[in-house]
């Protein structure tokens, strides 16, 4: 889970705290001087080494703060994702919805959903993927989670997007039938999602009974 600047300030001491202050100042400087997005600005090096300076457990949060503070645009997030370790790619995916990108960064989500790395798959189905994946892409993302055993709770806005989705229900039922035919267990989360595909109940009047 991402934590806020205030929580990080409480956690970090001494050199780590000073490092974070300097890194965020560099990111803010980049945001204040747009157009200098050629080459790799200093905060992007900080992005790579965040875990070593602030603790691996805080790396996602520090990287997210850097992206937001730098107001990272599509060229920067694409570069950081493509040149990143799996951990750096995850941090980019987890932050996309907090940046002013519209749907332009969707190719990064689609890239992550082609991997079999569950850390990336789980991050790809967060708020940004839920907001921008089209119906076909989102349904396949649901199946991908079930295949790779990413808990379906990782799917942001699951109930909202699954509701009344007859095609998703068919895909899930086919998948369950395939597993059953093979004598294999049906993933636990499948039933959860299938139940959510039911149409919304018709509004009932609260005035009369």
């Amino acid at each position: 889970m991402l934590i806020s600047r205030e929580e990080l300030d409480d956690r970090l001491r001494g050199a780590a705290r000073a490092w974070l202050d300097e890194a965020l100042a560099e990111a803010a400087h980049a945001a204040a001087h747009p157009g200098a997005d050629s080459g790799n600005p200093p905060w992007e090096l900080r992005f790579a080494s965040a875990g070593r300076h602030c603790g691996l457990e805080n790396a996602d949060s520090v990287r997210a703060l850097l992206l937001v503070e730098a107001r990272a645009g599509l060229p920067a997030v694409t570069r950081l994702y493509e040149q990143g370790t799996a951990a750096e790619r995850r941090a980019v995916l987890l932050t996309l919805h907090r940046l002013d990108l519209g749907a332009t960064a969707l190719p990064l989500v689609e890239d992550a959903l082609r991997t079999n790395d569950t850390r990336l798959v789980a991050a790809a189905v967060g708020p940004y993927g839920a907001a921008h994946l089209d119906a076909h892409g989102w349904r396949h993302a649901v199946l991908k989670c079930l295949f790779t055993e990413v808990p379906v709770e990782a799917l942001d806005r699951l109930g909202e997007r699954a509701r009344d989705d007859a095609e998703l229900a068919r895909m899930l039922s086919d998948f369950a039938a395939e597993r059953t035919a093979a004598g294999r267990a049906v993933p636990a989360g499948l039933r959860t999602v299938l139940d959510l595909t039911a149409p919304a109940p018709a509004p009932t009047s609260t005035e009369e009974s």
Binding site: N116, T118, F147, T148
Partner: protein, 282 residues
């Protein structure tokens, strides 16, 4: 028994190997970037390989409770292909990554001028990034190659304690240790070194600054050679502390100089579940 394999090419190995290594006591490893058997023809091909060493391969290893680190470099063999030389320019962006614990494998293959340039350049990169260097010693003309290697290390200004000279044998161990560098031995089924010869080296030179690896890759090799050396040491009269020093503490001390070793990986709890390596239904 805990084992750290300081040189193994896991990208070429199967999940069965990961399982067998875990069962044998391997809890950490370093995968040096090297030649893939098929020569590459463009820098982009290297970058995808480096990305795999920083992404997919650590994920695979983590599924089996093994901490995966890597070393990044343009290897000496491919440094001779001018199409691949631009890899050198891109190395700095890889050397800042969390799990990169050394520059390597660098050194000599055929001892050409192009190898001289790549070797010296990458020793400087190691110094600039505060990283140790993993140096491959040549298979052909080995002793002369070792002497030239040691000369280049001296000229580089990189401290010898930050350099691991690898693939050593009976003819090269003394000069390697005298140089102040760390000494690595690759235990292979037929070539390089075997377990019994390794015991003789340990009896002659002690356990300080000595590392043992399987160097297992796509060739005939055995990822359990580290454990076999440990067992052979115990049979030969070394005690468990000696084994722990050679097979764990020494590699931790060497690569730990990077400040980037992360050895507290969680044990595999959901190995047969939660495991996308099984491919699900894909």
């Amino acid at each position: 028994m805990r084992i750290f394999d300081p040189h193994i090419h896991m990208s070429s190995r199967t999940t069965d190997d990961y399982q067998a290594m875990y069962d044998a006591g391997v809890r950490a490893l370093v995968e040096p970037s090297f030649w893939l058997g098929q020569p590459r023809t463009s820098p982009a091909s290297f970058f995808d390989y480096f990305d795999a060493l920083l992404g997919w391969e650590p994920f695979r290893a983590s599924q089996y409770g093994i901490a995966h680190h890597c070393t990044i470099a343009l290897n000496p063999k491919e440094a001779n292909d001018p199409r691949c030389a631009p890899v050198l320019d891109a190395l700095p962006r890889y050397l800042v990554k969390d799990s990169v614990v050394a520059v390597g494998e660098i050194g000599y293959d055929s001892m050409t001028p192009a190898e001289d340039t790549a070797f010296a350049t990458q020793l400087q990169l190691a110094a600039a990034h505060g990283l140790p260097a993993l140096v491959h010693t040549p298979h052909r003309d080995k002793l002369a190659g070792l002497h030239r290697t040691i000369d280049v290390v001296r000229e580089s200004g990189l401290a010898p304690e930050l350099v691991l000279l690898d693939h050593l044998n009976e003819t090269t161990v003394k000069d390697a240790l005298d140089s102040g560098c760390w000494a690595g031995f690759s235990i292979y089924p037929d070539t390089k070194m075997d377990e019994v010869r390794m015991i003789t080296v340990l009896r002659g030179y002690g356990t300080d600054r000595i590392l043992v690896n399987s160097a297992a890759d796509w060739g005939k090799s055995d990822p359990l050679k580290t454990r076999k050396v440990a067992d052979t040491m115990l049979k030969a009269g070394f005690d468990e502390d000696d084994v722990d020093k050679v097979l764990w503490r020494n590699p931790v001390a060497f690569y730990g100089q990077s400040g980037r070793l992360q050895l507290d990986i969680a044990a595999p709890g959901t190995l047969h579940e939660g495991n996308s390596i099984l491919r699900g239904g894909e």
